[in-house]
Symmetry: C2
Subunit: 251 residues, 2 copies
């Protein structure tokens, strides 16, 4: 795990529904962030809801730290990143998570950083917002700005996870085809298209330009080229032998 | 609403839990995407769960379209974007939502595009994956790859919403302070710091360099400068008059 992600604390302040704590724990685990803090908990539902929604992220719940107040929950942090959906006092300095993630991750390289999420109904109080060193707002549609607590945790953690650069998408297994392989393919297809009577020798340039265009859209891999080469070979074989015979089909 | 976002259809295939449909509807509404399709529904829980979880996004639920099969649900789409968490057949060409959002949005400018999400337990079947024109995988931590359906819908829709460029973060209300205002501030603070006996005239350059450094971290706004200028003025006044007297405090 990245040192920066390991230094992140997700702090839920005054959360009302245990189910949201569990969903938030699962969202954190999805994004490689595993340290949960509850501050001024005000749970109105049974803790079993948290365990149910956490699914396999029970360890995030079990290792949680609990604090009586917001102040205590963030006391050891070098940056306190508050999330807010509302306008108003202290809130004009908000930024998008995407725009501050790298800067905050660099602080998290050497010190603890808290990502703070307020109550389901009232968010963070003004006095809590005033104690934050950074404020972020998740971009949402003007038509429906009320985002679920665990969803807010997910998007925020996602931006930190992606920007931590730990994750690499799997690469295309097949490397792109080189021009020579593509040209060989065009040659074989031209033979095949003449052989089946799709076009004449005179029409070759015209039609092959079209096929070349189709085959050049996006990345065209070696596997793609091999697949289409097989089609041309097999078509010519089938034309010569009067159709496919299972046991004779060349592979 | 952006034409591209309005052309997006979120297609849930074989969903088991109505609550997830509702949470997905809310997530879509948060991200400005309002057209929901259910394909091959296999709901094991009561529809009231969907309505409960949708909260104020009931209109997304009410205007949903239902289809018997995956094929029918995506038949009118110019791009079929499947989400998959698993490795395997057909799945080596997956990309991150962030990396394909702009390309797919440009297709959505002129035609319908479906974002397809599979079953909670099994995802999309191989024959469904084979029909997708694009495959995406949400970046998640290797340690916990199982992401909740509605959370997957949220992150995916979030990437399309943000990349559609419809959303603008609120700008800092206070513009950055110009150098002249900062230098005026330094001059006032120097007077103040000498006035209260914090430093001597000879030490001014040394100390003011430190204060200048502190005040130059990040964006220093006109409001920031005005605030600190007020501190210097008030301090000098207080030193002269022997402390604050509420009614005489200058603002």
């Amino acid at each position: 795990m990245s040192a920066a992600l390991d230094n992140i604390r997700v702090v839920l302040v005054g959360t009302l529904y245990a189910g949201n704590v569990g969903s938030a724990a699962r969202a954190m685990a999805n994004m490689g962030i595993r340290h949960l803090r509850l501050a001024a908990s005000n749970l109105q539902s049974d803790w079993s809801e948290a365990e149910k929604m956490a699914v396999h992220a029970g360890d995030v719940l079990e290792t949680r730290e609990e604090f009586a107040t917001f102040e205590e929950a963030v006391a050891d942090c070098v940056a306190v990143v508050g999330t807010t959906a509302r306008q108003g006092l202290y809130r004009q300095h908000v930024k998008a998570p995407r725009d501050v993630a790298k800067e905050i991750l660099s602080l998290a390289e050497t010190g603890k950083v808290s990502l703070v999420f307020g109550r389901e109904d009232k968010g963070l109080l003004n006095e809590e917002v005033a104690q934050c060193t950074h404020l972020i707002r998740i971009p949402v549609d003007k038509g429906y700005t009320s985002i679920n607590l665990a969803q807010a945790v997910l998007v925020t953690c996602y931006e930190f996870f992606v920007n931590a650069g730990e994750y690499e998408m799997p690469r295309e297994k097949a490397p792109p085809a080189a021009q020579a392989q593509k040209m060989q393919l065009m040659k074989n297809w031209a033979e095949m298209l003449i052989g089946i009577g799709f076009m004449t020798e005179e029409q070759t340039d015209h039609f092959m330009q079209g096929f070349h265009r189709v085959f050049s859209r996006g990345v065209f891999t070696k596997d793609d080229a091999a697949l289409l080469l097989g089609v041309a070979r097999q078509t010519l074989w089938a034309v010569k032998h009067g159709g496919a015979v299972a046991k004779e089909v060349s592979k």
